[in-house]
Symmetry: C2
Subunit: 337 residues, 2 copies
Amino acid sequence: MLDDRKLAVLRAIVEDYVSTNEPVGSKALADRHNLGVSPATIRNDMAALEEQGYIHQPHTSAGRVPTDKGYRLFVDRLSQVKPLSGAERRAIETFLAGAVDLDEIVMRTVRLLAQLTRQVAVVQYPSLTRSTVRHVEIVPVGDRRVMLVLITNTGRVEQRVIDLVEEVAEDRIANLRAVLNTCLDGCGLSNVPETVAELPERLPQEDRPVAATILSVLLETLVERHEEKIVFAGAANLAAADFSVGLRDVLEALEEQVVLMRLLGETGGLSELTVRIGSENPYTGLRGTSIVAAGYGSGDKELARLGVLGPTRMDYPVTMGAVRAVARYVGQILAGS
Amino acid sequence: MLDDRKLAVLRAIVEDYVSTNEPVGSKALADRHNLGVSPATIRNDMAALEEQGYIHQPHTSAGRVPTDKGYRLFVDRLSQVKPLSGAERRAIETFLAGAVDLDEIVMRTVRLLAQLTRQVAVVQYPSLTRSTVRHVEIVPVGDRRVMLVLITNTGRVEQRVIDLVEEVAEDRIANLRAVLNTCLDGCGLSNVPETVAELPERLPQEDRPVAATILSVLLETLVERHEEKIVFAGAANLAAADFSVGLRDVLEALEEQVVLMRLLGETGGLSELTVRIGSENPYTGLRGTSIVAAGYGSGDKELARLGVLGPTRMDYPVTMGAVRAVARYVGQILAGS
DNA sequence: CTCTGGCACTCTGTGTTCCCGAGTGCCAAG
DNA sequence: CTTGGCACTCGGGAACACAGAGTGCCAGAG
């Protein structure tokens, strides 16, 4: 159905179109790639490819442009991820190594990725639910107020101020803190609710109301506010790549955390690349854009995802290489800190 | 030099141009605003206004467009800040009240402002240097590691992991924490360095090396990393307002923290509005855009600044009203929490 | 059966020309 | 100082022609 030469033609079309951003004709193909056949032959192949929906011509007498289906075939079977150059690797390493806390790691990662791919980069903060508790702190900040601070193994810190109904002495707080920590230390965040449920029994009667207040906030922080935070960078790159579709839609999507979440996609394997091309995309405003995403994490657990978003006519091999590399480095950094 | 009627004409030109986005001619002016004079008279006034550089015509036979100088005069003398409607005020209040921590306050503020003005909103995080210490916490997170957590009166939390040279017992940490807190509680962050300098004397000899390590990190957090964080939202609004100048430049500027900082401007009075119009702007990429900014803070101290960025032909009275109102509300929220 | 060269055909994009209309500046009269 | 009249300018849209790129198809060669 699709012999080798037709595939070669498709590959050539994709590569040329990506680099020139203009519909590519049979003659140009014969010139630039040495396929060993004449333009006429290529035309026949093109007709076949179009027949099956891999390419498309904007109007009669224009060159061909790959369809989403064409890109898909290209990504799946006709290309291989292009590794980064040594210089790029070193640049990544030094750039990420300078970060002092999680905020900065994420910030640097997203900028790095945007710069590397010249597209819009998107990075999700390491998820709370997939990490473990490193420490819980309860700090009095007034007569009837405490601040609850939760520190995870990824270095993420969540804090909440809690109003208490009664005044509580320092030592009772200290006790509560000790109990909490012995119970929760190293506990996976997703297991916290069950662990916490049995906790009041270990406390003296008088402390239970206070503990209940604090614990409910703790759970809320973990569960309800488990809205994942996402940042992006490189919006300026959008302006450069003149979008066929309104870039307004793209900008809007970028500011909708929910949409971004869905774009980054379901969790695949760790460092497994996910590619969504144009209409494969769940969000209507983003036809015309593709997403290349990967999970990252420390050890073998996927903590969150990151990726880039660009026009469907992006350079997939290079982009995929960059995303994969950055995902791995971030994972290393997180594991090391 | 500029009699009342000429000023009225200028005001009318600005208002019409802002609302229609098209050069405005003498006839249209006579029709839409009842200035009581004929188009011919208006033409004479326009000639005078142009002579003095307040308006400008794109080409010989087109209407007039305000220059930056014209907008400046309009803002300074011909308009007054337009207060928000009651509904809008209530919306702000309820929207901001739901925030649980500083991150969320800032996030909500910037979105609110973007939505309210339909432009790009920019908010600077409350500055460390201008706030006071509410609490310092030192938390062991391993044999030779502690996490230093600094909580300010604005609810901002800074954390750093510190590697120690020796293992340190819990109670020594506790002691250090106690001393730190008694010394620093309520202390203005800018005074911390001096206060800290005398601190080692209060400690037992054996604790001084450890204390020195921790204190140096503390100072570093305050001073070196006093890089102010800035967030923005509403980039999608840029696409709607078709920019004369490339919007690429604008997007680039938005991602440069340094540029943004300078745009928000030097500290004026609290809730004092700063308006920068087009070329008054320090950054070349942003000719064609104006910035309306204000300081916000709790009590009478300015903690940081916020504002919006839009095309020079924005509706200044409305924008200024929104910025001022939001700045005040955020101040209240911060003071109350 | 596949490849190739030739050829007529069909488009888009560009450049040219033309004209309308909005808006101006100037002038003389009220 | 204001007003109506008038000639003038210029940008932008419509109509048009045209060159060039690219195609599909066909007949002949390998």
